[in-house]
């Protein structure tokens, strides 16, 4: 096992909730700098897997190890982007104040915060809206604000739980491209949960498909597909790329058949 592959390891991670096994023992590795997308129908445990990976939830069996160390509690180096962005932002602080929260938690002295806040807001394109309150922003802008706060943590790993699910199609597309750019610029490792197969192929280096109702002979982790489409990608040409179309067909067929 190379050191890069040891960056994040899922070792027989199983999760039981309310007496039911949501996730059967699942193992896979994530290399540094990889963009891994996790897809699957509702109830397959993809969100729960992400939360276990970030330490918000403890696995019932198995371990998640980051750089060899077991993840049992959340850490500042692992950022988490929630789907319900409206509820993850402090409504009484401005965009600037919300980003500042991450820096305050990390102990950055007051003097050093402003430049870092400005840098991160510039990256997500919210520089002009720094003094607005979340209630004054559109959905897409609120999600960007949340991403900005996560970036301010200077994380090694970013967990994203269906971050664009609650947004309209156009906003989703532009945010996808912005995310891809940010990840490339900062060399982030990303675990991205989505129910949108096309989004998963578009964004990911690898797509992991989970299936619901695991049981004997039916593991949660059903398929792992490498996405060998060159970067940078764009909404128009990539989606006509033969490899993209092939993967799309393969994944759709798989999801259909696992939907018994």
């Amino acid at each position: 096992m190379s050191a890069a592959a040891d960056f994040l390891r899922f070792d027989g991670v199983a999760i039981r909730l309310g007496g039911r096994e949501i996730l059967s023992p699942t193992s896979f590795d994530v290399a540094r700098g990889e963009f891994v997308c996790i897809v699957g129908p509702s109830g397959c445990g993809k969100t729960t897997l992400l939360r276990a990976a970030s330490g918000l939830v403890t696995a019932s069996a198995g371990e998640v190890r980051r750089k060899g160390v077991k993840m049992s509690e959340p850490s500042r180096e692992v950022a988490f982007v929630f789907q319900d962005y409206g509820r993850a932002l402090l409504p009484w602080r401005t965009v600037e104040g919300n980003v500042s929260l991450a820096l305050e938690a990390a102990g950055v002295p007051a003097a050093g915060r402003a430049p870092r806040i400005a840098e991160v807001l510039g990256k997500v394109g919210l520089a002009k809206h720094a003094q607005k309150f979340p209630v004054q922003l559109s959905g897409g802008m609120q999600q960007r604000a949340q991403i900005a706060r996560c970036l301010a943590q200077k994380p090694e790993l970013m967990m994203m739980d269906e971050p664009f699910g609650a947004l309209d199609a156009l906003t989703r597309q532009s945010l996808q491209d912005e995310l891809a750019r940010l990840v490339r610029e900062d060399g982030l490792t990303v675990l991205f949960v989505t129910h949108d197969l096309e989004e998963a192929i578009y964004l990911g280096d690898r797509v992991i498909a989970l299936q619901a109702n695991p049981g004997p002979g039916r593991p949660s982790l059903a398929r792992m597909i490498d996405v060998k489409i060159p970067r940078p990608r764009d909404q128009l040409t990539t989606k006509e790329h033969p490899e993209y179309l092939r993967l799309r067909r393969e994944l759709f067929a798989f999801i259909e058949q696992s939907h018994d």
Partner: protein
């Protein structure tokens, strides 16, 4: 006239209409008392009430007998009791409420008892307080503060208990300390509830202050209007009631203003 001007005229017309209705009510009062439809023992004339008010506040002529000219002092006494009690109540209510509200464990054990105390009238504690402390200003202040504390405490507990779970998770992801969580998330989150509780507490503080003055014979508007009624001085009675209404109105308006400024982030 463009739309903006029309809007402005509309607002002025509304205010005038409202004023007209109020004036009509006062005119009705004037007629009922001056024409004797209702005995002047129970319903003094507006002019007599106004005269009592002026005299009581030392704004007209020399003092008459005993109770006159001291309305200002009485008002100060009542307002002082109300405000002091309210400040104490708010301080302890927020501190205790935060301590209880932050910990789900403490809440589970203590909340049912709080719910039992909630419907209890604050004035019901006066006999017990008289028994312990005797008839003195300190006793009244104690009951004012104790009675007014509960709305603030209950509201604070609720505000801290109802932190958006997503924000708690964000705090865990950022590895925020407990103290930082309480100060940066719990308290601002509880602010709307706390302010609403403080508004209710102010109303209770005024009521208990007045009742306390009445039964403990403490100098203030409460005692003043009681004595005025007993001596059949209807105009002094009405003057006192008007002042109490004014205190209620002003204190509420000030607090509403403060609330608006502190909760600016709620307006889209």
């Amino acid at each position: 006239m463009n739309g903006h001007d029309r809007g402005r005229v509309g607002i002025v017309m509304n205010r005038l209409g409202s004023l007209a209705v109020l004036s009509a009510l006062i005119a009705l009062w004037w007629m009922a008392s001056n024409a004797g439809w209702v005995s002047r023992v129970f319903l003094p004339t507006p002019q007599a009430t106004f005269a009592s008010l002026l005299e009581g506040l030392n704004l007209s002529g020399p003092n008459g007998n005993g109770g006159h000219g001291e309305l200002l002092a009485f008002t100060q006494a009542t307002v002082g009791r109300m405000v002091q009690g309210w400040l104490l109540a708010s301080l302890f209510g927020v501190l205790l409420g935060a301590a209880i509200g932050v910990s789900p464990a403490v809440r589970a054990w203590v909340q049912p008892t709080l719910e039992f105390i909630r419907p209890l009238p604050a004035s019901a504690l006066l006999p017990l307080a008289i028994s312990i402390f005797g008839l003195n200003p300190g006793m009244v202040l104690f009951v004012v503060a104790f009675g007014a504390m509960w709305p603030v405490l209950l509201a604070t507990v609720h505000g801290f208990a109802a932190v958006e779970p997503r924000l708690s998770e964000v705090a865990r992801c950022l590895q925020m300390s407990r103290a930082a969580f309480v100060w940066k998330m719990g308290l601002p989150n509880a602010m709307p509830d706390i302010l609403a509780g403080m508004r209710l507490a102010l109303t209770i503080a005024l009521i208990v202050a007045v009742v306390g003055e009445m039964i403990a014979s403490q100098s203030g508007l409460g005692q003043a209007i009681l004595l005025a009624a007993r001596a059949f001085r209807a105009s002094d009675l009405f003057a006192g009631i008007a002042l109490l209404g004014l205190i209620g109105f002003a204190s509420n308006a000030l607090l509403a203003l403060a609330e608006k400024r502190l909760l600016r982030w709620q307006q889209p």
